[in-house]
Symmetry: C2
Amino acid sequence: MRFEIGLSLALCAMAPGGRVEAAERTSAYDAVDPFIGTGGAGHTFPGAVAPFGMVQLSPDTDIRPFKQSYDWAAGYRHGDPTILGFSHTHFSGAGHSDLGDVLLVPFTGEARLDPGEVDQPGSGYRSRFSHDGEVSKPGYYAVTLSDSQVRAELTAGVRTGMHRYAYPKGGSAGVLMDLRSSIYNYPGKVLWSRVRVAPDGTVTGFRQTRGWAPGRKLFFALRFNRKMTAHALYDREEGIPYKGFRQPGRTPADKAQLEGRALEAVFEFGPLDGPLIAKVAISAVSEDNALLNLQSEQAGFDFDALRAQTRRAWEQALSAVDITAPAPMRTSVYTALYHSLIAPGVFADADGRYRGPDDQVHAAEGFTFHSTFSLWDTFRAEHPLLTLIQPPQRNNDIIRSLIASRKHSPHGILPVWQFHGLETWTMIGYHSVPVIADAYLKGIRGFDAQAALDAMVQSATYAPYGGLGDYMALGYVPIDKEPEAASKTVEYAYDDWTIARMARAMGKTDIAKTFEARAAHWRNTFDAETGFIRARKADGAFRTPFDPTAINYGSDYTEGNAWQYSWFVPQDLGGLIAAMGGDEAVVKKLDAMFEYDNSKLDYSHAEDIAGLIGQYIHGNEPSHHVAYLYNYAGAPWRTQARLKQIVDSQYKPTPDGLSGNDDLGQMSAWLVFTSLGFYPVTPGSNEYVIGRPFVERAVLNLPRGKRFTVTAEGLSEAHPYVGKVSLNGKPLTRGFLRHEEIVAGGELRFVMQAEPNTSWAVKPAERPMTTTPYAP
Amino acid sequence: MRFEIGLSLALCAMAPGGRVEAAERTSAYDAVDPFIGTGGAGHTFPGAVAPFGMVQLSPDTDIRPFKQSYDWAAGYRHGDPTILGFSHTHFSGAGHSDLGDVLLVPFTGEARLDPGEVDQPGSGYRSRFSHDGEVSKPGYYAVTLSDSQVRAELTAGVRTGMHRYAYPKGGSAGVLMDLRSSIYNYPGKVLWSRVRVAPDGTVTGFRQTRGWAPGRKLFFALRFNRKMTAHALYDREEGIPYKGFRQPGRTPADKAQLEGRALEAVFEFGPLDGPLIAKVAISAVSEDNALLNLQSEQAGFDFDALRAQTRRAWEQALSAVDITAPAPMRTSVYTALYHSLIAPGVFADADGRYRGPDDQVHAAEGFTFHSTFSLWDTFRAEHPLLTLIQPPQRNNDIIRSLIASRKHSPHGILPVWQFHGLETWTMIGYHSVPVIADAYLKGIRGFDAQAALDAMVQSATYAPYGGLGDYMALGYVPIDKEPEAASKTVEYAYDDWTIARMARAMGKTDIAKTFEARAAHWRNTFDAETGFIRARKADGAFRTPFDPTAINYGSDYTEGNAWQYSWFVPQDLGGLIAAMGGDEAVVKKLDAMFEYDNSKLDYSHAEDIAGLIGQYIHGNEPSHHVAYLYNYAGAPWRTQARLKQIVDSQYKPTPDGLSGNDDLGQMSAWLVFTSLGFYPVTPGSNEYVIGRPFVERAVLNLPRGKRFTVTAEGLSEAHPYVGKVSLNGKPLTRGFLRHEEIVAGGELRFVMQAEPNTSWAVKPAERPMTTTPYAP
């Protein structure tokens, strides 16, 4: 449905004198449908954001009590009948959540200060809306609020959001600001907040929240293009023991400033002869810096100019890949590409200053600080995608932000799950490490490699973190001392391997040897008897009872079970296959996983478990590399079949088209890579495992100017298997590509066929990771 | 008692080869007894502070529930049997309160995390103590904690506090930090806080409180001179809905950082072979700045050097006046001088940065930001005293801080009651205005006078503040729209007069005329029928019923009634006397006030009402100039008699020796001036009304190098009246001095006698304010 709207708009735009091809093939920009993922489990938002933008200006449809918040992690749910208003910060696809800062609500007539009930129109400030006339494009969103008949349009630059509200003719124009409103809300979340209105109508303030990032400070600045006729400031909190002395002003309309924990502001403009524009900037540093950011992209209120500027930025970013495919697949892949270009986002102010994990303000020298690092998700494919297609500067900014964060960390370690500069300690591992190592090994070098390696080693040896002290002493994390011990052990061991890889490349042999040894620690948690990775106790025994299908928080595994986690040895899949009994046993086990009868299992208590194919769970990350593992066991045609099964069932160009949380681009980056025919199973190896393409043709316009073209001859539903592969005209018999081969430019040509080719890339020497040594 | 200790110490110090005079007359430093005011209503603290220091490191004896907090406004009450610990920020004599930041408690053995009960020794971390061996000197405090037998000594520089703890031999040394502890405490006061322990043992953190100054942020840095053997961090808050994900560390001892609303930290050092020294700095800017401040006075841990440095600073500051008087009077006056040299204090960090009333960080250029402005109190005598005896730089810093605060104010107005850079909106008036005008007219010129005048005018015309809109429209504040309207009207009118005075001096005739007209507004609230200043309603009628003895919060008056407030026309006392019916009527009315039978009145509900002599209330500021008003009615001998009555009954050199809150030096500055024989009844007039001296001799060592000597020939209990006065050898027949006469240097000589001289300074032309025109 959304896709049709996008297409029809594109057709409209091209109607006068448009070429025939134009009608057949929309632009990359128009192929994106940001509504994908806004229903179901995707947790994406439909609002306006610039590539890697600091502001994500988007509608919030509901704020549910804390325990029900999961489904509203991005503020908007496509099935909801009402919109509360428009707030300025959103995660794209996160499982846990926060944000929804500085909610603005346009209204006519009397201001209503509470949201009201969904089923009682007019009972509060929320408004009904319909998807007819609702538009979402990269950097632009529009909707008509049915109750007030206000047409609301949103656009965003990197550091500013802009609202354009067209009020019904003759109606008075008003805007409500609700500083109480918050995603993942609960009583007491707002620790403190302030709003002030300067004589010139500039509104500034902040709120500090005790949310996912404890004690997060968000400053804002807001200006309108029209002169206010009145304003009113409210503190809605009653009965608190002490509110201090009375500020100047007898009435809400008299007050220039208010502080408290439940603030709202109403701004009135009377009847207007044109639209009202509100320009908003945020900052983690100060109100002054929010004002600085407010001027950073545009001095005035030219909505269309900001929208056009952000559109150009998206066109540029999306031009990294030129895709030929049927419209639904093109929409899916371009939307996935769009979703992979949102985070980690810029989080430095226009003067380069930012708030770090120590909650202190720092000045970045020579780079732009980025934040929102969902690293447990994104080290897998999202960061490798950015490393491949984004300019080196972006990747250097990201890595320098990680190193700076480590420098500012009170614990002296790299980010785990960071947003708005602050650490949340969410998920496990030290996956900043593979991000840095992978980029370094792929030639991203605009950072201090020694400082990076120091940070990586420090992060891998900080005893108080996640059982690392025991891991170093015992060679595994003991489950009787630390939850999720099996997952932690295997993820630490992989991260360790990437440290060793980077240390080798830097000639730091001692460090390399230490971490090569640690990379083998996965073996300490592998149970040869059951063939699963299992949690071991401090006394060496595996914990019992053992149920490989059980999924529980704080169990032996992290958001998963033995079925998913037993494959997490990307640094030594040859070793794993041998330990599991060899190729045939592994293919059987993989098939058993995909074909597991899960009809009797209930995972509804585990929020992140979605997108099940047997015990393969595409909606969550531990499974993401698993379909590619047949290749390592000499059965690449099985990978090809599984990929088709996954792509067909887990991605649709519809609001509920993502089977799991997009996780700041990881679900999407999986699709982008997979559609091209290859995937980075082992970041740090510089190898991409070849799967099968899902697009007829794709041209990668690489950052250093080269082009790498993928063609899929004969691709169709009836031709789901790879027959032959050639690279630059020469047959490619191995089942993987090297990073150097892609960045050199050239052509990867697939010939697709109806039947599996069971002889291509099956020999041991043709399999991935056979020439990338586990321990050189 | 305290005084004897000081004296005996001085004698000890001088014993070897000490001169005879030394035993008779202690040094100014040794004459100070900081215990004065720590009992009764004084609200002073006995701990360590440097002159105008940012840190006030002092023991807290109790934290009472909010409604009982008044008596513990400075943390310490001399009558309490236990000490909780030592915290780093305290007001000197405030009525309302806050602060008590970063409480440290030395302990041996097991740490106790809660204060425990006063009557159950050992039930918590509080310890019994006795006044034997308790020492308080300017910049130094020492006490033995009876329960742990720790000898605790405190000293402070401008930006650092130092603790020296001697533990009992063989006992383990520990320090508890309770970030929950707060003066004027109530549930939820701590909005957010953090503590972190760096690998080198540096402890940093902050707390943000919703107290008197809403949302105040206090960062701190702490280093010990010994290596910690262990630490533990605790969050004592239970059952809050969301605490975020788990930070690294399984146990309190494992954690490097904790955030929350109820934090404590325990630091352990094992048995030590010498004292433990803790050095602490605070900052309103950031933890980094707290670390900077920590190094600003001393790199190491030399307690004695810091103590000596601060002692020298006090000796220098106290040398402004050299007083000859019997020991009790000398102690009272030097302690008053000491108390007048604490606030407003330095509040800029070592790099010049500070947090302003906009809660933003600013960099001061060319001055040191000062804060803690209790202006409703201190415009009367405290600021005039500083203007007279402190170097111009201090006064310029103060005025530039006021102007900078106005620049940063969200309301665009000067401070009302500011501390730690933040506005509290306590009390009434815009009394920054007379402070600036008085200093300007007395030749303090190291600030931008035009910016100052702009700020003064802006503050006097900001309609939303305290009924100013109505005041400007009606000529008075109407009581049916604004509480305390009578007091506001007369205080605004006086403040307006000082604007006019400064504008005249600057040649700004238009401004002068406007505010000269406003200065007459006191007449609009004067009721000729009753002879009292009364509150008028918007319709012009005086509010009834009218009870000139009633004192209630939010009534017609501010912390007072018609008796006290009817004298507040310092800019036009001639006009007031005429309105009241002339000299005789006024003397009768003044006598009626002092001799009012208050035995049937109960003011126990009004916290600040203390020190009653009839309806004269010396414990609160509205009365402070009243005893001097007989002079204006041609009866200076009556002033002389009343001053003796006040000094004898309201000031004693004992802990309960202050009859009211010292109010950041105002009660004390009153005594300093009064003891010298003159008082600034009308700041902005450059006149000091002559009362009578209470010291035999006083030499003012003035900032620009001149000396002004006051001698009181024949002064004794039997000679309480002024017989003759001469200035520089010539008879002085008028009843006032001019500022210029003092700063020129010279000698003011009183000849005291047994009987009143009823002919000295009684003619109209000899009275104060006869040559300082009300409206030139």
